[in-house]
């Protein structure tokens, strides 16, 4: 908590994302992008946390983020992803999907491509709620229940799944290169396989009966069948999409909507969640299973698990710590990462040792020493 830096930015932040670093280097990220919402004029902005060589850093605080450049954004920024080092894709409340290019030599931002009203109702705009990309492919979802596939190098739309959902799709992520996962407002997790031509999900998983809306989803970076979701009641759900149609475990996390959940990209025993209740949680589980899984029953009441069975044939050392159900053994630790604050934390991103999050209190918090 000591090393966390707050910067007030005069706009409510809906999304924060680190610029990716090349895989080969062990470099820490230094630039992140933010999107704002609910302002008279919304913006996408690029920030740097480096202060060497930059005489423009007046505050003198080490690592205090400073603005590199910004650009107007039509509508609320509903989601934001880096397509590559220079380009970001945003989802707008106007239904538009836009690619912005960050020119790093001149520190300017420009619109490089836009699909206006990609998500829409017959006579109104429909907010685009989520975007995920794997360059050059871009997949977006919206309140109109559509799933749309674009390519950054093509003007048209590659594929549309109309009526993919009868309710709002809140988030989307890749499961594999040809498969995506969506979560919706009636507590369902749907798996879509783009190799199939029919427009129906290949699998539907759901919370039993409660219909609690799900707001975010993230996939384990190494074990693609492990998926974490967060919903309106603030519960963290871990799913094994290979088995069962209900979550593997449910953990009480927040007291209000969980807006984002992220596995640490290189150290997936760590997971981060943020919420409308104003908290940011760091979850840590131990992957070194030193006890056979069949001895690890008896979960306590706050950690409800629906299945105690491990995937058949799963080698112990390969079983994800998130599915080994050892939460009761005190091996799942959660830490609050923000000093007490009451306003919602809308977004977070973690890369290397760096974490960034944005709040409705118009502040961006950066922690450069996350212990992972």
């Amino acid at each position: 908590m000591e090393s966390i830096n707050a910067k007030y930015v005069s706009q409510k932040i809906s999304k924060t994302r680190w610029r990716p670093v090349s895989h080969s280097s062990l470099q820490q990220p230094d630039i992140f992008a933010t999107g704002s919402w609910d302002n008279e004029e919304n913006k996408v902005s690029f920030w740097s946390i480096l202060n060497n060589g930059g005489s423009e850093v007046e505050d003198g605080f080490e690592g205090d983020p400073h603005l590199l450049c910004e650009q107007r954004h039509d509508g609320d920024v509903m989601d934001l992803q880096f397509l590559d080092q220079d380009r970001i894709v945003t989802a707008s409340s106007t239904g538009a999907v836009t690619i912005f290019r960050h020119h790093q030599n001149t520190q300017t931002v420009s619109v490089s491509q836009q699909w206006v009203r990609a998500h829409r109702y017959p006579c109104d705009n429909a907010p685009c709620t989520g975007v995920v990309c794997s360059s050059p492919e871009i997949v977006t979802v919206g309140e109109d229940g559509r799933i749309i596939v674009f390519r950054a190098d093509q003007e048209g739309v590659i594929r549309v799944i109309e009526n993919a959902d009868s309710s709002t799709i809140h988030a989307v992520t890749y499961l594999r290169t040809t498969e995506i996962l969506t979560v919706n407002s009636i507590g369902q997790l749907k798996l879509w396989d783009f190799r199939q031509q029919n427009n129906s999900p290949s699998q539907i998983l759901s919370l039993s009966g409660d219909r609690v809306p799900l707001h975010c989803v993230d996939r384990h970076p190494n074990q693609q069948h492990v998926v974490a979701t967060g919903g309106q009641d603030g519960m963290l759900c871990v799913w094994d999409v290979r088995q069962g149609n209900t979550p593997f475990s449910l953990m009480e996390a927040h007291t209000a909507e969980m807006w984002e959940v992220h596995f640490h990209p290189t150290n997936p025993d760590h997971l981060f969640t943020c919420s409308e209740d104003g908290s940011l949680l760091h979850w840590e589980t131990s992957s070194h299973v030193d006890m056979p899984s069949f001895l690890q029953g008896g979960r306590n009441s706050s950690m409800m698990s629906h299945s105690a069975v491990l995937p058949p044939g799963g080698n112990q050392s390969l079983v994800s710590a998130w599915l080994s159900g050892d939460s009761t053994k005190g091996r799942l630790e959660t830490t609050h990462m923000l000093p007490s604050q009451t306003l919602p934390v809308n977004s977070l991103d973690v890369l290397g040792q760096c974490l960034v999050c944005g709040t409705d209190g118009e502040a961006v918090f950066v922690n450069r020493q996350v212990s992972v």
Partner: protein, 653 residues
């Protein structure tokens, strides 16, 4: 009876409105809408402008830099509200002081950023605007700091002067700029501002720094060495009260008196007569009023004069005596011609410990509620405002907080901050929030969810219903039945759920298939919200059973939908038609009893239809189809009954 106004209200000209036109207006929470009316007076002619003007009282919430002030102070405010009442008062006091300091440091940070922005901007108009905001913040911080010393920290005699000195030093920091300019010059002692700096140091009681400066002059004038030495010793010997030390106030007073006599003696025997500057300093040290007033330019303000005068004449001044000195210093300092500014009156009121006057004058003089609302709240937590009652609203604290929060609520984005302020207004906060929250424009479901969370957390069920209804209506308008149903389920709005279920059933009748199966199949307990929704869910269940060839279960469900009166009468014909393929199966599905019940349902339906009479607007063709259907059903039912009786009468071999 009309209240007397304290100041004449400011006039705002509506630029586009023509002279002689009549204006109508409507109050908003933070602004006024003004429009030209059609009223035709004898003189005014011409077309009426169709424009509506928005007149804002508070421009500050639109300043991006001041927004940081609002956001940061919100955090401090919420922290202050959670200080426990049962803490020992001594701990509380130190907490209040530290909160007050936090508020001030936020003001200072904001001021610095504004200053930088003013310097870096190229637009002179913007620079002036920033400059004005800086001077307003400066005044705010000055007043706040004084209130902190006098009301929150409640400094006693002895300590009081030390704190007032700090206050003056902080707000008269131009001395340091001047000093560094002097010290960086080639020969500081010969710099034209040299003596100004020395005197300014003395006036602020920064005697150590004054001595350091004097040494530079002394080395230049070896002949006057003894004189400088004497001055140095006078300066070094001046006693200052040390709070928390072993020395009592009386002991300090005796010591100070001795020192004062010594300085006075030096003056009497003309020790410094040969050096005009040193003599001046010596006169300052004995607190000679005329000498002090001769340095008006270095003092700058009457309150600096006040503190300097106290330092050299009444270092053990008690809080209760302050107002007397303050009043006289102000009168002495200001020319008889010049009128005291609002700031002077506010500070004077503070020295007089008239908290309400301070708050009132600030409310009038400043264009935003931020300052008075936060200061009043803090003072109220220190239990300083209890005696005062307003004859409107609840109390002063709540009144000001409500005003401030209402202003925030008019802002596109800052409305979220206001919620916490309303929460801490026990009497009217909730009503304000209820009225305001319903008016937040909901552009996305995401925002609606945030607003809903605010309402649900506070059990504002009326507002929850209204928001869900808005969202459900919007979804319905966009033909998103699934979303619409989800929203009405969340609001537990049975009537609306019925309406949407009706739409689903209509769609089914028209198209023969259900839309949004992912939703209908997963209704769960939510199905019980309305009868029609239950029917929708159950009817879909029937189709599912049928699709899975579980005919017996399907038949039983279908029948129960009618006999238990879950299905609306208008839908019975569809249900009976659905029974047809089951009746036509080779195997007997409906038992004899069940068939009887089906027949009974059909008769009930046909008799109720014929009762409505032929006067309805159904065409002959429709009538024909209906008749054929009934005939077909009767036939199928009769055949099934026969088969069932035979089957049930046969003993299985």
């Amino acid at each position: 009876m009309m209240e007397e106004v304290d100041v004449e209200p400011a006039v705002t000209n509506i630029p586009a409105a023509n002279a002689g036109k009549h204006l109508g207006f409507a109050w908003g929470p933070g602004d006024i809408l003004v429009y030209e009316t059609l009223y035709k007076s004898a003189g005014a002619k011409g077309p009426c402008s169709s424009a509506i003007h928005e007149v804002r009282k508070d421009e500050d919430i639109y300043s991006p830099i001041l927004r940081k002030l609002f956001n940061e102070s919100h955090h401090i405010f919420v922290g202050l509200q959670t200080i426990r009442e049962d803490l020992p008062s001594k701990n509380k006091k130190s907490q209040f002081v530290s909160i007050s300091k936090n508020y001030r440091s936020v003001i200072r940070a904001c001021m610095e950023e504004l200053q930088q922005a003013a310097v870096s901007t190229k637009d002179s108009e913007v620079a002036t605007q920033y400059g004005n905001q800086v001077s307003i913040l400066l005044a705010i911080e000055l007043i706040w700091n004084l209130c902190e010393v006098l009301f929150i920290d409640v400094a006693h005699a002895g300590v009081l002067l030390l704190q007032l000195l700090d206050w003056v030093r902080l707000h008269k920091a131009d001395v340091d700029e001047k000093a560094s300019e002097v010290l960086q010059s080639e020969s500081p002692a010969e710099h034209r501002n040299y003596w100004d700096v020395v005197v300014s140091y003395v006036l602020q009681g920064r005697l150590e720094e004054a001595r350091q400066m004097l040494i530079k002059q002394a080395t230049l004038q070896p002949a006057a060495r003894n004189m400088y030495k004497l001055m140095d010793s006078l300066l070094s010997k001046m006693p200052f009260y040390t709070p928390g030390g072993i020395q009592t106030l009386t002991e300090f007073e005796v010591k100070w008196r001795h020192w004062h006599d010594e300085v006075d003696r030096c003056l009497q025997d003309n020790s410094f007569a040969s050096n005009q500057h040193l003599e001046f300093i010596c006169k300052i040290l004995v607190g000679d009023e005329d000498t002090l007033l001769a340095h008006k330019d270095l003092l700058g303000t009457w309150y600096h004069f006040l503190v300097t005068r106290l330092l050299f004449c009444h270092p053990t001044v008690k809080p209760t005596e302050l107002h007397y000195y303050a009043q006289s210093c102000m009168t002495m300092f200001l020319d008889s011609r010049s009128v005291p500014e609002p700031l002077d009156n506010i500070l004077l009121a503070a020295f007089e410990f008239d908290i309400h006057q301070v708050i009132k004058d600030c409310s009038i003089a400043l264009n935003n509620w931020w300052f008075v609302a936060h200061l009043t709240d803090l003072l109220d937590h220190c239990h300083l405002l209890q005696s005062h009652n307003l004859h409107f609203g609840s109390n002063l604290r709540e009144f000001l907080l409500l005003e401030y929060a209402s202003g925030l609520f008019t802002h596109n984005s800052l409305w979220q901050l206001a919620v916490d302020y309303f929460d801490h207004c026990p009497e009217f906060g909730r009503v304000y929030l209820e009225l305001q929250i319903e008016r937040v424009p909901l552009d996305t479901e995401h925002k609606a969810l945030k607003v809903l969370r605010i309402c649900e957390k506070r059990q504002m069920s009326e507002q929850v219903r209204s928001i869900c209804k808005i969202m459900a209506m919007r979804a319905l308008r966009n033909n998103r039945l699934g979303s619409a149903l989800s929203w009405s389920i969340r609001a537990k709005d049975a009537a609306f759920a019925t309406l949407i279920s009706e739409r689903f059933l209509q769609d089914y009748c028209a198209r023969g298939t259900f839309s949004d199966l992912d939703l209908i199949d997963n209704l769960g307990p939510a199905m019980l919200l309305s009868d029609r929704l239950t029917f929708l869910g159950k009817y879909r269940e029937f189709h599912k059973l049928y699709g899975e060839n579980r005919f017996r279960e399907a038949a039983k469900l279908l029948l129960s939908l009618m006999t238990a009166k879950i299905a609306p009468r208008s839908f019975w014909m569809t249900l009976l038609t659905d029974a047809l393929p089951l009746l036509e199966q080779k195997e007997v599905i409906f038992s004899a009893d069940q068939t009887h019940e089906l027949m009974f349902c059909l008769e009930e339906l046909t008799s109720s239809l014929s009762n409505t009479g032929p006067g309805t607007d159904r065409t002959m063709q429709e009538e024909d189809i209906e008749t054929t259907k009934v005939e077909l059903l009767r036939l199928a039912l009769a055949r099934n009954l026969a088969m069932a009786i035979v089957k049930e009468g046969t003993v299985e071999s």
